[in-house]
């Protein structure tokens, strides 16, 4: 949105080149419009994040971009080419794909799996080097069925990397992984990006998007509802702190929004969330107001605003509520 217009004005030569662009993408399934008029631009060399809850249309979008699912409307341009539904092998040579739900054959070993994927491509990496990249040297000859969740996911990413792709699609690469496994996957993604690769990543973890992505598009109900760098999006809240609290007696909401340095009030169940620009000003005022309304604090926490708060303020829902 605002970034799209500003990107035209930008003159850095590297950021100008578009690796992936889609315009007016629409995909309907029987009873639901999964993607509803989506425009995206991913620049060469950047890591672009599609952030949104489950069912926001992220996977459908990615699979359309990967040429696996035909769209009902709209155009996709990838590395200057289009999917033809015919012979797309030349284009497939240039992209790497990790699908959300693929379970690779369990009886085959890590190195055998990678050799198989490597054989599909004209050019690419040495299989053992990719194994080193994803830190699976010790599991080189282990069967896929014996790998942990994190190791399986690293292998799935390795299968996408083995062709040395220009553009890498990662669909929820760390969903269901423990923090340690997530960190090691992030390392792999960052290495790929450092090597000049372009990444389109979907996630519903805000910290993942914040850490990895240069720019983030927030999706909900098949539409893009915000676009920008993580910092820009958080800034757009006009706040850098969130105060969350609950009280014994329900509060009148109007006086709360009138408090100094408070930008926004959001109530979810018993919990009030105040978006504030200066916590030093807002917090004493809030405590006084609670007292004035003859209620008492039960819980109170504050944190730096995150992409999660951006999503909540835009949709009224948490990312993980789905």
């Amino acid at each position: 949105m605002s970034t799209q217009t500003s990107s035209v004005a930008r003159v850095e030569p590297t950021a100008q080149r578009v690796a992936l662009r889609c315009v007016g993408l629409v995909k309907r399934f029987a009873d639901v419009t999964a993607v509803d008029g989506l425009d995206l631009e991913v620049f060469t060399g950047e890591c672009f994040g599609l952030l949104g809850p489950n069912g926001a249309g992220k996977t459908t979008t990615v699979e359309i971009l990967e040429g696996l699912t035909p769209s009902d409307q709209g155009t996709v341009e990838l590395l200057g080419q289009h999917w033809t539904r015919g012979d797309d092998r030349a284009l497939r040579e240039r992209i790497g794909v990790q699908l959300q739900e693929t379970q690779l054959a369990e009886k085959v070993t890590v190195v055998e799996t990678l050799r198989l994927f490597r054989s599909f491509y004209q050019r690419g990496h040495n299989v053992d080097e990719v194994i080193r990249t994803v830190a699976l040297e010790e599991k080189r000859n282990a069967r896929v069925g014996k790998l942990s969740g994190g190791q399986k996911q690293r292998l799935a990413v390795a299968c996408a990397l083995v062709s040395d792709p220009e553009l890498l699609f990662l669909d929820e690469p760390t969903t269901g992984l423990d923090p340690q496994a997530r960190l090691s996957l992030w390392d792999i993604v960052e290495k790929f990006r450092a090597g000049g690769g372009t990444i389109l990543l979907t996630t519903h973890y805000m910290e993942e998007a914040t850490r990895l992505c240069d720019r983030v598009a927030i999706m909900d109900h098949g539409k893009m509802i915000a676009l920008g760098t993580p910092a820009e999006l958080i800034e757009s809240l006009g706040a850098d702190q969130i105060i969350e609290f609950s009280v014994t007696q329900e509060l009148a909401e109007n006086p709360l929004t009138q408090l100094p340095a408070v930008n926004h009030l959001h109530k979810r169940g018993e919990v009030y969330a105040l978006t504030v620009s200066e916590i030093g000003v807002a917090l004493p005022a809030l405590l006084a107001e609670i007292k004035r309304q003859q209620s008492e604090l039960v819980t109170l926490t504050t944190h730096q605003a995150t992409l999660e708060d951006v999503f909540v303020s835009l949709t009224g829902r948490m990312l993980r509520d789905g």
Binding site: S119, N126, G195, G196
Partner: protein
């Protein structure tokens, strides 16, 4: 790759590699993966190799024809009765007859349950034969018993006859059975083996993942046919060697032509397996479809008895079935020792099944 990328590559050089080829042609790698998956699955190995051998053994034993079995005859009455024992002695002199003496009730029961083929009831100066004329062995039994009894009472042969007994290897039931079992086995392993593997790969989204690579789709399907070929040789050899060791089965035709016919059959059923597996998303779905396709062939295609026994009206349909063609072709080559060129009909039928099913499967294959 462009220069901008190359400079960035430089920084992360430690993990970027050369283009030294580590894997071979995709068709080779796909086939090797198939073989690995199969050989590492113990159950699959059992069903493909051990089961058919066990089946050959069981059926071969059940239907073995050693010296022709004696005809079982019951004499109704009491063993202490002079007339009964005299009749029993008379019949026992015939080498083709085994006699038991049973009470009327037991005799009736034995006849009903097929333990004896005929019941002889001695009366004052005559005999009564009780038998079921629709049972072929009862018919034979009647002739044998009658002959023995009449001779015992002094009937003389009018003309001298000589006998030449011929038991040709290749004409026994087990000889009929072995090519049929090979055919049935090729059908089963082609359909089950491929059908399940493909549908499992689809449900695990492996097919979708492959579709996202530049892999040629025909390579994927061909790899199934090639991997089947490897097993097929072993599988058929297992049955033939076993039948040779245990039943003295011999292949009369040339090994080359038998191998070619077997391969053709293997390809036809691999194609059919791919076709069956080209759409279903679940194991249940593909199982139903496979049973629907295999059941008629189990019954009609002449594995256990000749398909010629079915009504004339059904014959064009039966003869066009791939298993009928394969069984007929294998029997002609293995048992009659005919040449490939005299078996063009089964060859053409199998080729047609092979090509049509492969091409249609490739066309309608669901990758996700």
């Amino acid at each position: 790759m462009d220069e901008a990328k190359e400079t960035l590559v430089h920084e992360a050089k430690d993990w970027r590699g050369s283009d030294k080829p580590q894997s071979l042609h995709p068709l080779f790698e796909l086939t090797a993966t198939r073989l690995r998956e199969f050989t590492r699955e113990r159950e699959a190995v059992f069903w493909v190799f051990v089961f058919p051998v066990l089946m050959t053994f069981a059926l071969g034993i059940a239907f073995r024809n050693t010296a022709p079995d004696k005809t079982l005859v019951a004499i109704e009455g009491n063993a202490s009765d002079a007339k009964v024992s005299e009749t029993a002695n008379g019949l026992s002199r015939s080498s083709d007859i085994a006699v038991t003496v049973l009470s009327p009730n037991d005799a009736a029961q034995a006849l009903r349950s097929g333990k004896v083929s005929i019941v002889v009831r001695p009366e004052n100066d005559s005999f009564t034969y009780r038998f079921d004329p629709t049972r072929p062995e009862s018919h034979t039994a009647r002739l044998l018993v009658d002959d023995a009894l009449q001779k015992g009472k002094g009937r003389a042969d009018v003309v001298n006859v000589g006998e030449e007994k011929v038991t040709e290897p290749g004409a026994r039931y087990v000889d009929f059975l072995v090519p049929g079992l090979i055919g049935m086995n090729l059908m089963g392993s082609g359909l089950w083996g491929l059908g399940f593997t493909v549908v499992i790969a689809r449900s695990r989204k492996i097919l979708k993942r492959f579709a996202a690579t530049p892999m040629r789709r025909s390579h994927y399907l061909l790899s199934f046919m090639l991997s089947r070929l490897v097993f097929l040789v072993l599988q058929v050899a297992a049955i033939i060697v076993f039948a040779w060791l245990v039943f003295g089965y011999t292949v009369r035709g040339s090994w080359l032509s038998v191998t070619l016919m077997t391969m053709l059959g293997g390809f036809a059923f691999s194609g059919l397996g791919l076709l069956v597996a080209s759409r279903p998303k679940t194991i249940e779905g593909v199982s139903g479809l496979m049973n629907f396709i295999m059941l008629p062939m189990w019954l009609l295609s002449g594995t256990f008895f000749s398909s010629e026994r079915f009504p004339h009206l059904l014959q064009p349909f039966i003869q066009a079935l791939p298993l009928t063609a394969l069984n007929n072709g294998l029997r002609a080559l293995m048992n009659e020792g005919t040449s490939l060129s005299s078996n063009m009909i089964p060859i053409v039928i199998l080729l047609a099944w092979c090509l049509v099913s492969f091409v249609v499967a490739l066309k309608i294959f669901r990758w996700q």
